[in-house]
């Protein structure tokens, strides 16, 4: 399936790398108890966080805590061979839910010294590094859209947006940027 989200993402702040679309990725939503989390770790090839609002990143795999029994798993696109099969095998017999949401959402990267200021235009969370450190992730609201916000660096955020909201979110951040930069 062709990923149109990048095409929908309009050029924003000219001659700037503040906001750009990230390449397509494989995404799974995993739901289940503590035993599901433990069983899935080796198949994912990445630690799956038990701590609230934390993400782990190992190589090209990432696991984000979304809820006490819900994680977002991110891997490169196309999916590495055996990832889905390995997960199914590891979770055999355990009560769980594993859903491929690769094409449901798209990712934006927001970076630079103004990144938190831009996000603060539409997100009421405290984004200071003392309250929202590197490696923290959460589902939250950005203006009228629900997003998953993940701080991957002191001044770098990954924003997972549902694909039909990508144009809205990027234009909103563009509007915010016009007032700031």
């Amino acid at each position: 399936m062709r990923d149109l989200s990048a095409a929908r993402c309009l050029p924003l702040v000219s001659a700037s790398t503040v906001l750009h679309a990230l390449p397509p990725a494989t995404r799974y939503v995993l739901r289940g108890g503590a035993e599901v989390r433990a069983a899935a770790e080796s198949a994912v090839g990445c630690g799956i966080p038990a701590r609230a609002c934390r993400a782990t990143l190992e190589g090209d795999r990432a696991a984000l805590w979304l809820g006490p029994d819900e994680w977002l798993l991110i891997a490169p696109e196309p999916p590495p061979g055996g990832l889905a099969a390995g997960l199914s095998e590891a979770l055999e017999g355990l009560a769980h839910s594993l859903v491929d949401v690769s094409h449901r959402q798209s990712a934006l990267a927001l970076s630079g010294p103004q990144a938190t200021t831009l996000l603060a235009a539409g997100c009421p969370l405290d984004l200071d590094t003392s309250a929202f450190p590197v490696g923290m992730c959460t589902r939250t609201m950005l203006a009228k859209a629900e997003v998953v916000l993940w701080r991957t660096g002191p001044q770098v955020f990954r924003v997972e947006v549902w694909r039909s909201f990508v144009a809205y979110v990027s234009q909103f951040l563009g509007e915010a940027a016009r007032g700031i930069i």
């Binding site: 609230a52 609002c53 809820g67 819900e70 959460t138 589902r139």
Partner: protein, 97 residues
């Protein structure tokens, strides 16, 4: 902005939450055994408390979990939040002046 202390995520802005009605409403164990009035009370009649009210909230745009809260309906102050299945805390935090 009003901050609500999600038992799973910590303090979060109010707009991530959705109100879920009165908490601790127990469904009759044997619905066929109760009278029509008792069943109607279970379905429709709720407290209209002035003061501390136990109610359900859902962190819809966060962890997605339901939890319970003690909220003062006169001041909108959240006295305490606790997970579903836990008893309401008896010594709830005093109201700040």
């Amino acid at each position: 902005m009003l901050l609500i202390d999600c038992p799973y995520c910590g303090e979060r802005p109010e707009l991530e939450f959705v109100y879920g009605g009165q908490a601790h409403v127990a469904r009759p164990a044997q619905p066929a055994q109760v009278s029509a009035q008792q069943w109607a009370d279970y379905l429709y009649r709720r407290d209209n408390t002035r003061g501390v009210h136990a109610e359900r909230w859902r962190h819809t745009h966060g962890c997605g979990r339901f939890f319970n809260a003690l909220r003062d309906t006169t001041t909108d102050h959240f006295r305490a939040t606790y997970k579903v299945g836990e008893p309401p805390p008896s010594a709830a935090a005093p109201v700040p002046r």
